[in-house]
């Protein structure tokens, strides 16, 4: 029983991390009808910015002065702002120039931008953080920063000193809270409703007085914040982050979004959970299945795309001539 319980727990956790990225994809796809493929890299950027900010803030002595939870919130705010800015930059560079061209152009462009983000992170993370730490705090030797290219250990900020179980429970609860907040936002606030309107019919939304441009910008800001939190939770769950982890993470998130149905946020949750369960249970129950962990997810995705391309939740759209 305990083994099965462990598997269940890690399946849910894995699903949670995929869900957050998948929701990022769904938000962008819903509003813009394009796939913004660097979601995974933005999330990893969020995780790295938390690590960097942690080094600086810890050296500045903030953690020692205020309660843990406040300090973590400060870190999250910093990372969210950085990720939101990165989201806006993504929109400016890789999505907006291709509004009128074929839908595959932004896909390619965002993949390329993801590579750029990843590589820049690997190259300049260490020197930049070191120099900022030196400049701000006058520490000559901030020891916690290892080069961005190496696997970077993520500071354990959730339930420090507690058991892994507590940490895992906190992660699941945080994801659930975020999901509730997101559904409240999408269905009850004016901005969320106008985002849904744009998703359904852009021209009509424009005519009824929705400010489409600012709405799109807000989508990217909200997506960035979500992805930052996703990166934070992922880093805490895996305890180690790699600068090139975003490709796999992003592809799996996209796969989850497609399995669930690209236009629906609930679909993203279901798809993410399904993918997490399939992966973890293949690794755990089939002997020698650990090797096939990554392959099985892609096989599931291919099967889904071929037989049910509109996803679990998602209506079939006939193509208009």
């Amino acid at each position: 029983m305990s083994r099965f319980g462990n598997l269940l727990m890690s399946a849910i956790l894995c699903g949670c991390t995929y869900t957050l990225v998948a929701i990022g994809y769904c938000l962008f796809f819903g509003v813009l009808d394009v796939v913004v493929f660097c979601c995974g890299d933005i999330a990893i950027f969020g995780a790295f910015s938390i690590t960097g900010a942690f080094t600086i803030i810890w050296s500045a002595g903030v953690f020692q002065a205020v309660p843990m939870i406040v300090a973590v919130l400060i870190l999250l705010v910093v990372a969210s702002i950085l990720c939101a800015v990165l989201g806006l930059i993504t929109y400016r560079i890789s999505v907006k120039p291709f509004e009128k061209s074929s839908a595959l152009m932004p896909l390619l462009s965002t993949i390329a931008l993801g590579v750029v983000i990843k590589e820049v992170l690997g190259l300049i993370f260490q020197p930049v953080v070191n120099n900022i730490a030196k400049g701000v705090v006058r520490v000559d030797d901030p020891k916690t920063v290892v080069g961005g290219r190496n696997p970077q250990s993520m500071p354990q900020l959730i339930a420090t000193g507690g058991s892994t179980l507590t940490r895992n429970l906190i992660i699941i609860i945080v994801v659930a809270l975020i999901l509730m907040a997101l559904f409240f936002f999408l269905n009850k606030t004016k901005l969320g409703l106008s985002m849904q309107a744009i998703s359904q019919n852009k021209e009509l939304a424009l005519m009824t007085g929705v400010n489409v441009k600012s709405c799109i910008r807000w989508t990217f800001i909200i997506g960035g914040v979500l992805l930052a939190i996703g990166g934070f939770l992922l880093g805490n769950y895996q305890t180690i982050i790699r600068f090139d982890g975003g490709t796999m993470y992003g592809t799996k998130g996209f796969a989850a979004a497609v399995v669930g149905g690209l236009k629906s946020t609930w679909g993203a949750v279901i798809g993410g959970m399904l993918l997490g369960f399939v992966e973890v249970f293949t690794a755990g129950l089939i002997p020698g299945g650990t090797k096939f962990q990554n392959v099985i997810a892609f096989i599931v995705v291919i099967i889904f795309i071929v037989f049910k391309p509109e996803g679990i939740i998602g209506e079939k759209v006939a193509e208009k001539v």
Partner: protein
């Protein structure tokens, strides 16, 4: 490049120059020396030359000169082919003893073949395939398995690789009949990632370490990867192999051109423009798509078999998602749906990659940055696709012009001319 500009000035004075076979030979010579200097010089110089050439092409393209040169090549097909072949044979020998340079040149040619294959899918049919490296991997691994695990000749491995990659292309092509756009991209992406993972965990093909010790190709007992001394000059070992690769590249380019100008090529472009319209016109859409995938797969498989023969090794790290991105980047840089442009893009990026080997950390960054910038600034690539002109190929005067000679009505003449 200066010479080309001179050629342009000449054209202004004397229009006939652009129509003579000498212009073709001149262009070939200029290309030859450009490639030679870019390959052989130090990385700073070679990057500088490439930057200048790209800028010059972009500048010259504004006056539509690139198109005129293309027309010229098509009109004087034989002269272009013969002079090109002679230069192509001389080229490997000009590299002499420089092993590293010969290696770069061979790599560039092999990538050119792979990009031609990818172009069938990405350029002609507008289906973004994110798995060209997987096709290359299939070719390379079949050569490796044939020669290392089974002890057969690598040529049998190559044949097997071509067949396998064709079949694999067909299998990947099947889901594309039902999906399109993002879904197709995701399928190919998933296949690419799954391929790398599967190869990594399959002990028969060496797992993470890959298969090393692949036999070199031999032709009638004549070893293709060996130092030879010709006219007292010691050649680097890749030279005969480079000749083989160039022969394959020429063959592949020729086939690609024939496909491009054939009915299938037009059908592919129609499918790319509008699938429903193509269906209405009586084009067999699924057949066309499958054809693009199979022929593209075979091209990439061929590139893979040649790659394994060059490196003597096939491993999972060589055929991963990054390699696919690199190939896509080459196609977009060179110009989609234009065989010459695609090969040009492959040459440029392959040489940049190899010349910047000392800065290996920056490689991916360079691809990413080139892609982002290219897509914004010039999504059509350095040499964009041309408007089809069939009269040039058939070399026959269009019937409409023959009629024109008989007609006396000047207004009708003008109208007909504008139609032509």
């Amino acid at each position: 490049m200066m010479k080309q500009k001179d050629g342009k000035v000449n054209t202004m004075k004397n229009k006939k120059f652009l129509d003579s076979p000498f212009a073709v030979i001149l262009c070939n010579l200029i290309l030859f020396f450009l490639v030679y200097f870019v390959v052989i010089s130090d990385y700073v110089v070679s990057l500088a030359i490439m930057a200048v050439v790209i800028l010059a092409i972009l500048l010259v393209n504004r006056y539509n000169l690139v198109n005129k040169i293309f027309d010229l090549y098509i009109r004087h097909k034989k002269t272009a082919l013969i002079s090109g072949l002679i230069l192509g044979i001389i080229y490997p020998f000009s590299l002499t003893d420089n092993v590293y340079v010969a290696h770069i040149a061979t790599l560039a040619v092999i990538y050119g073949i792979a990009c031609l294959g990818l172009n069938f899918q990405m350029g002609s049919t507008d289906m973004t395939n994110f798995a060209p490296a997987a096709f290359m991997g299939i070719g390379a691994y079949s050569v490796a398995i044939a020669s290392v695990n089974m002890g057969l000749s690598p040529w049998i491995g190559m044949l097997g690789g071509l067949v396998l990659s064709g079949v694999f292309g067909f299998l990947i092509g099947l889901p594309t009949l039902k999906t399109k756009g993002y879904y197709l991209s995701l399928v190919t992406m998933a296949i690419q990632l799954a391929f790398t993972e599967l190869v990594r965990i399959w002990p028969y093909v060496g797992g993470d370490d890959g298969l090393s010790g692949v036999q070199r190709y031999k032709l009638f007992g004549f070893e293709l990867y060996k130092r030879y001394t010709i006219f007292g000059i010691r050649m680097s070992p890749q030279i005969p192999y480079l000749l083989l690769c160039i022969a394959f590249l020429v063959l592949c380019t020729y086939i690609a051109m024939r496909v491009y100008f054939s009915r299938t090529g037009i059908a592919m472009n129609t499918v790319a423009q509008d699938e429903i319209a193509a269906d209405c016109l009586g084009i067999n859409v699924s057949r066309t798509k499958l054809f693009a995938f199979v022929i593209g797969g075979v091209y990439c498989g061929l590139a893979g078999t040649l790659f394994a023969g060059l490196e003597g090794y096939a491993g999972p790290a060589t055929y991963n998602f990054q390699k696919s991105l690199m190939l896509i980047c080459m196609v977009i840089l060179g110009g989609m749906d234009n065989s010459i442009g695609v090969v040009l893009g492959a040459f440029i990026l392959a040489i940049i990659t190899e010349k910047l080997r000392d800065f290996a950390d920056f490689q991916q960054l360079i691809y990413g940055a080139i892609l982002v910038v290219m897509l914004i600034v010039r999504p059509d690539g350095i040499i964009p696709w041309r408007v089809r002109n069939h009269d040039l190929i058939t070399k026959r005067k269009p019937k409409i012009i023959e009629k024109l000679g008989e007609s006396t009505d000047i207004a009708a003449k003008a109208e007909l001319k504008s139609e032509v």
